[in-house]
Symmetry: C2
Subunit: 328 residues, 2 copies
């Protein structure tokens, strides 16, 4: 019997590469946990045919009905999507609506503690905007502002971000001792829950070589206070060294103060196999992939499942308290 | 006969790894131009013995006396350093003083247009401070503020920096249309002089995904104006994509607005083989390596010459107008 609790994943927008990378990831054998898919069962069936995966679909109406039998894929399908709504590579409001509903179901399962982790297949912002009329669309929906923090993962380089989509000037006002300290506490608790016994967090400096008022008056005191609370934090560490040191295994995680500080490191160092957790939904893991629906190659069977595989595999490992997957 | 004009290089602090990496670089055969060394001839002799390089030293008193004969190293030695001043791994004010003098000689040769490029071996900040009593030390000496711009090079990833050692808040006030435009002009002219016929410069955005006042009101207009002047500039490009695109060859150079924006990319992507030009001393090339004197391994023969080799090789190629070296 698996020591991994089942997790749930949405298939993403059926007009994009989501279903394909989800099925390829499941067929790869790299995901140690049973996975309940949420989406359109017929789409999953067609995707299995497209990819040649040795899997059969079992449509279910509830989490409890899933059997997780070898060689089968349980798909929780709330219905509502017609074949005519789906053209690979074409924006579809119906699909936008469906992806929202599927992610709501995933969230409900997680909040009801039926699954410890949910993974979001790639959705299409334009489809969601057309479906909802919501300009902010998917992203705003996913994140209660200031309460969630992007935790990017690419192999040994893991970066949690204090701020995300705000201007650099706003960011400077947000780098305050108590904000940094709160994120250190949250990150420490999350890493512990995920199975890292004594997580070591490297905290980035803000100014070049850590020479600046924020480094001295905000970041350094936050690190000292965290240390006093038993958190193994170090820093501020010059940002141009910190992420390299992470890739070499010196820290379990880096704390970046702004979007590009972390994203430049992650995306320049390694572009594929990235996945992302939204911290702030504990105790469950809310995971997504960094890439989009790639409409240009949808339905062709050539999409790279590395990121989705990493998302599923990492979710399975962390939610079972077994730490980050080792790299092959 | 070489089509490369001779360049000059200082050996760096004799107590550090400078002489060793310089000699290893020359012995590697990777530097296509004749190189005049500036430093202590006896130190160079001992370093040749240490490294087992098949080279003989020829001490000269002027640039004109150099012969650049195969198998020999011409060393311009102004004297003044005694053997007792030099202990590997130990800070020496006399060596600090000597390295300053050697770099002055190199600068004079470049300003007199005798050499089109000078390369600085790694110096020791503490030795220079002890020698001069100058707190700011080596860095301030090298750079007339606001007139020079750090151009970092590691293989295909080349980044010129609009600002360097200032706080992030000061930086925000410095990202102005005319500053960006001036640097685009200078970078374009430099790349052209170095042999890149139609240099393509990618300009970083400042705020996440280029959504912010500086991106719209300062950077975008600077790029448009540069384009109107015939400069092939693109941007603003989201900073978390730009540097990756550089590594893939899409741009000849990236323009970064602040120290860490460029340095995080360069140092996370690849840690060895980096070198740096100070733009602003045209028409000559003023080159240095990113690493220091590494006193802990000085005199042991185990120092990695990759960065110094890149510095000499790149200086030779660019000053001969032959473009950046291809990677092996």
């Amino acid at each position: 019997m698996s020591t991994f609790p089942p997790i749930a994943a949405t298939i993403g927008d059926p007009c994009g590469i989501g279903p394909e990378v989800v099925i390829k990831a499941l067929a790869s054998g790299a995901v140690p946990a049973p996975v309940l898919l949420i989406g359109d069962a017929e789409v999953v069936r067609r995707t299995i045919a497209l990819t040649g995966a040795h899997l059969t679909v079992r449509a279910v109406q509830s989490f409890e009905a899933a059997q997780f039998a070898p060689g089968t894929v349980d798909v929780l399908d709330p219905g509502g999507l017609e074949a005519r709504d789906i053209t690979p590579g074409k924006v579809s409001p119906a699909c936008g609506r469906a992806t929202i509903r599927w992610w709501e179901i995933a969230t409900e399962l997680a909040e009801a503690k039926k699954v410890p982790a949910i993974v979001k297949g790639p959705t299409n912002g334009e489809a969601i905007r057309l479906a909802t009329g919501d300009q902010a669309g998917d992203q705003a929906r996913a994140a209660p502002a200031g309460k969630t923090f992007l935790f990017l993962i690419t192999g040994p380089l893991r970066v949690v971000h204090l701020t995300d989509h705000i201007t650099m000037r706003e960011m400077l006002d947000h780098v305050r001792m108590h904000n940094v300290l709160e994120l250190l506490r949250l990150t420490h608790a999350s890493l512990r829950r995920w199975g890292i016994r004594e997580p070591h967090i490297g905290v980035a400096g803000l100014n070049p070589h850590c020479y600046g008022p924020e480094d001295e008056q905000e970041i350094a005191p936050a690190v000292r206070q965290a240390q006093a609370e038993g958190i193994r934090a170090s820093g501020p560490v010059a940002a141009d060294s910190l992420f390299r040191l992470c890739t070499e295994g010196q820290y379990d995680c880096a704390l970046a103060h702004y979007h590009d500080q972390g994203h430049i490191a992650v995306k320049t160092w390694r572009f594929s196999g990235n996945c992302a957790i939204s911290l702030g939904y504990e105790p469950y893991i809310r995971m997504s992939v960094a890439h989009g629906t790639a409409f240009d190659i949808a339905g062709k069977g050539i999409a790279d499942p590395l990121a989705l595989t990493a998302a599923l595999r990492t979710s399975a490992m962390l939610s079972a308290g077994k730490g980050f997957p080792k790299e092959g």
